[in-house]
């Protein structure tokens, strides 16, 4: 009772990274609260999964194993999670802000009338005072996320309703094994207790999962383009530079919305979080939602024609001017000064 629970996502027999990241965060929250960490895994052929997650510090693993439960569909997973949570009453439930988590999370939160905060960039434990009601709360989950309207970050709490639910994007938290030998108690759920035929109203006819062509998380150099890049054609400048120096190309949401780059390249609060050795921001102003996804870069270069662009404050080097002029020169002088040719990597031209 009152534990921290992470809903673990499965794709092609493997638990997804975002779930391991949340287990790692969940472990530290559970330590602060002095409670247990639970994992809920719903799918098919789950033997061995308990052992897989226990390394991350899980104390109790709930397995809902049934061939009808993979691939994910909304209602059966909701029914099991809601049914289980009514019994186990976790105080916190975390899930990935993924295609699955963003479909399932709101459904569970509505069923349990509990608050859900999307796309948190940080989670902490703290107190809260409701001055109007004259009530004080201790050990609440702080769900921290940028808010629209400037460089502002909001801390959301759920004082009265349980569980306190939050979704987090992949890459925001760090995944870390606690100890290889950590052992969890495995509880097999009797799924028929929670499911009925009506839960299988939506059937999957066809399903195709593509391997991502873009590997932003694994890249040590990222060249990110913003609305200032101006067009899809101009993005080729970024691919050229990426190709030359061995980097991956990312984008701001404004660039994605404008159709300059694919959504899977979006960096930021509602995209991916990266921590490269070098981040080159081209025509990106540096709004908080973007910064949230790149502020842990070791070195930042900002190319911008506005000397006061907010991102310049985070930059080690600021190149003031039009990126159309600057990027070709970077390629030219890189080629001139590099001795050994670098292996080919990166963008669509790679």
């Amino acid at each position: 009772m009152n534990n921290v629970c992470v809903y673990c996502e499965i794709e092609e027999g493997k638990i997804q990274d975002v779930s391991y990241e949340l287990l790692t965060k969940g472990r530290s929250l559970a330590n602060q609260l002095n409670v247990k960490l639970e994992a809920l895994i719903i799918g098919d052929s789950l033997a061995g999964m308990g052992k897989e997650v226990s390394k991350y510090g899980v104390d109790i693993v709930y397995l809902a194993d049934d061939k009808r439960l993979y691939p994910f569909t909304t209602l059966p997973h909701t029914a099991i999670a809601v049914g289980l949570f009514k019994e186990t009453q976790p105080q916190i439930v975390l899930m990935g802000a993924t295609s699955i988590g963003r479909d399932l999370g709101p459904r569970i939160s509505s069923s349990l009338t509990s608050g859900l905060t999307a796309d948190c960039t940080d989670l902490q434990i703290g107190e809260y005072e409701d001055k109007k009601a004259g009530k004080k709360y201790e050990n609440l989950l702080y769900q921290i996320r940028p808010a629209f309207g400037g460089n502002i970050v909001a801390t959301i709490v759920n004082p009265d309703n349980r569980p306190q639910m939050a979704t987090v994007r992949e890459g925001v938290m760090k995944k870390e094994i606690l100890t290889e030998s950590h052992k969890a108690e495995v509880v097999n759920i009797d799924v028929n207790k929670y499911l009925n035929d009506a839960d299988f109203a939506v059937k999957i006819i066809e399903r195709q999962i593509e391997q991502s062509k873009v590997n932003l998380k694994g890249s040590s150099i990222i060249i990110a383009g913003g609305y200032g890049v101006g067009s899809k054609e101009n993005f080729n400048l970024l691919y050229d530079l990426a190709h030359a120096i061995g980097a991956e190309v990312g984008a701001s949401r404004a660039a994605v919305d404008a159709g300059f780059a694919d959504k899977e390249r979006q960096i930021g609060q509602t995209g991916i979080t990266v921590r490269p050795k070098l981040y080159i921001a081209c025509g990106i102003s540096g709004q908080i939602q973007h910064i949230a996804g790149m502020q842990e870069s070791a070195m930042v270069i900002s190319i911008n024609n506005d000397p006061n662009a907010p991102i310049n404050k985070l930059a080690d080097y600021v190149i003031q001017g039009n990126l159309e002029n600057i990027i070709p020169k970077m390629i030219k002088y890189y080629r001139k000064n590099i001795i050994a040719p670098c292996p080919l990597r990166g963008g669509p031209r790679g």
């Binding site: 999370g105 702080y142 502002i152 801390t155 404008a258």
Partner: protein, 288 residues
């Protein structure tokens, strides 16, 4: 013929926050931002209109919750092919989080009556939460199909939908009634129709007609010029589940973030500057 409800929202245009909209303290002057039809709600409307293309007897009702001004997007939807609009507006809704919003919307859906399909945008650009669609479906006790990019087929009570996932896609089949959220990769919404623009230009809500007696008269003559407006009481909602009080999530604090400015080196576009930088990056093994 199908009865369809499309959930729509008026949002600040977060994609074009120019320098003019920024206040000195670094926050956005919302009033300086244009209010627009949430982009994915337009995709949702298009999916509904495509059903109507195929089954012309289909009736499409737009439903929005928001301030009086949100009637603008209802008119926009009427110009593009919807049959009716409903504005849900009340001070009691102020401060609603997604759950309280979904509750209010679900009450309004109940009041509209029978339906076969509800379409909604996947998410609104001012929050990107993607929660309201699924939560409304839950409150109504119907299945959901999220991230739709195409209605592959619809016959009798069976619908097939192509869903766009982060990596890949799925084709799923469900039985009506259900709620579908539209992904940005669904077809763009058709433009306004000139005839419909003429017809609905003067369609208004009660609040908009408040002081305009002429318009009020004409609305009385032509029922289609009257956009339905409901308050919390009209949809028979439990006040405790609305607004700030009905929202499980509370904002504890909002913090203005001031970035710790780094000691940055400023360079120009001169060849000398760029060559120096590239040499620097190569020498310290950042690249190469």
């Amino acid at each position: 013929m199908y009865k369809i409800i499309v959930l729509v929202k008026q949002v600040p245009d977060t994609r074009n926050v120019g320098k003019d909209a920024m206040k000195a303290d670094g926050t956005v002057n919302r009033a300086a931002l244009p209010a627009i039809f949430n982009p994915e709600d337009l995709n949702a409307l298009e999916l509904a209109l495509e059903v109507k293309d195929k089954y012309p007897d289909t009736h499409i009702t737009l439903l929005t919750m928001g301030p009086v001004r949100a009637a603008e997007i209802l008119r926009e939807g009427l110009y593009r092919g919807a049959d009716a609009g409903v504005l849900l507006t009340d001070k009691a809704f102020a401060g609603s989080d997604t759950l309280a919003t979904s509750y209010a919307l679900s009450r309004a859906v109940r009041k509209i009556g029978e339906f076969d399909l509800i379409f909604a945008g996947r998410q609104a650009i001012d929050g990107d939460t993607a929660q309201v669609g699924p939560q409304v479906a839950d409150k109504l006790g119907i299945p959901q199909i999220t991230y739709a990019e195409d209605v592959i087929s619809l016959k009798d009570k069976t619908v097939q939908i192509k869903r766009r996932l982060e990596r890949g896609f799925e084709v799923v089949e469900g039985q009506l009634p259900l709620l579908i959220t539209a992904h940005s990769t669904a077809p763009d919404c058709r433009p306004r129709n000139a005839k419909r623009l003429m017809k609905y230009k003067r369609a208004t809500t009660l609040s908009e007609r408040h002081n305009v007696s002429d318009d009020y008269l004409s609305a009385n003559q032509k029922p289609y010029l009257s956009i339905t407006e409901w308050c919390a009481k009209d949809v028979d909602s439990d006040l405790a589940q609305l607004g700030l009080g009905g929202s499980p999530t509370k904002v504890r604090q909002v913090e203005n973030i001031v970035f710790q400015a780094k000691e940055s080196k400023v360079l120009t576009t001169d060849d000398g500057d760029i060559e120096w930088l590239m040499q620097e990056l190569i020498t310290n093994h950042t690249i190469g």
